[in-house]
Amino acid sequence: MELGPHAGFIVAAYATAAIVIGALVAWVVVDYRALARALAEIEAKGMGRPGRPS
């Protein structure tokens, strides 16, 4: 579609939103995987989860 003489500003605005939202999603997913791995290691070492007998 034709976005006129200011197409660069429109594309840059959507690209900014996509990059920031993509970074947020990546942060949440990577953080979750790291935490799940850390919890699995804790369980494997027999440290147990807080509030539960190990």
Partner: protein, 243 residues
């Protein structure tokens, strides 16, 4: 499920496991539909094609403001009821709110240049939103600077409640001062002044951003609960290891 049950981290994690993918799928559908509607909508009679920046700029601004209000409610939970899930809520929401505020500022600058002839002007609306972004950075800095999560939560809660005064300033800045930024055109007495052909994609995108926020917020809360479990397990292990 009674609302008080959500304050139980175990029940919250079970709920988040179901809701995070549901909100993520809803966000993808709504944002996809919003993009199609937005790019098929007519150009504005004055702003031309650049009005399409509105479909990301305005929802991002609403989410940035709404997130601070959510953090303020969580801050009350921290300071009044001292509930740990309130701390988790505030900490999870802050980076997401900051990111949406950044989107609002950058897309606003990119909209301002072709519309006003300037990326930035120190008018009341733009400046008060910049202050909101700096407040977000301040809250994030507090969380990082203070090791004890309870102390960090209280410090961040105080700053959040102090910063709450900025929210009505942002909302009414265009009425109280003479600003380059346009006055309210959606949430105003007498109804919206935006033509339905442009209002519909704007609202679809806004609901899409809201669903995306909820997916990210619940996922970040889940992560924070897991982080605290890891921290507690390490503290308990260190205590057991001491002679």
């Amino acid at each position: 499920m009674p609302i008080r049950d959500l304050a139980n981290p175990h029940r919250f994690l079970a709920l988040a496991r179901a809701l995070v993918p549901a909100f993520a799928i809803l966000a993808a559908l709504l944002l996809g539909l919003g993009l199609v509607l937005g790019f098929r909508s007519p150009a504005d009679y004055q702003q031309g094609e650049t009005v399409r920046i509105m479909y990301v700029h305005v929802p991002a601004a609403w989410i940035a403001l709404g997130t601070w209000a959510l953090m303020a409610a969580s801050a009350l939970g921290t300071l009044v009821w001292r509930h740990p899930l309130a701390d988790v809520s505030a900490k999870a929401a802050a980076p997401i709110g900051a990111a949406f505020c950044l989107i609002c500022l950058v897309t606003g600058a990119l909209w301002g240049r072709p519309t006003w002839g300037a990326y930035w002007v120190w008018d009341a609306r733009l400046t008060s939103v910049l202050v909101l972004f700096l407040l977000y950075l301040g809250v994030l800095a507090l969380w990082r600077a203070i090791d004890d999560p309870n102390r960090a939560a209280r410090a961040a809660a105080v700053l959040t409640l102090v910063g709450l005064v900025n929210i009505p300033i942002i909302k009414f800045s265009v009425d109280w001062w003479s600003t380059l930024h346009q006055s309210a055109s959606v949430f105003r007495l007498g109804g919206s002044t935006i033509h339905p052909a442009l209002l519909t994609p704007l609202l679809v995108m806004a609901f899409g951003f809201a669903a995306l926020f909820l997916a990210l917020y619940l996922a970040a809360m889940r992560n924070e609960i897991l982080r605290r479990r890891v921290r507690t397990a390490h503290i308990l292990a260190a205590a057991r290891a001491e002679p």
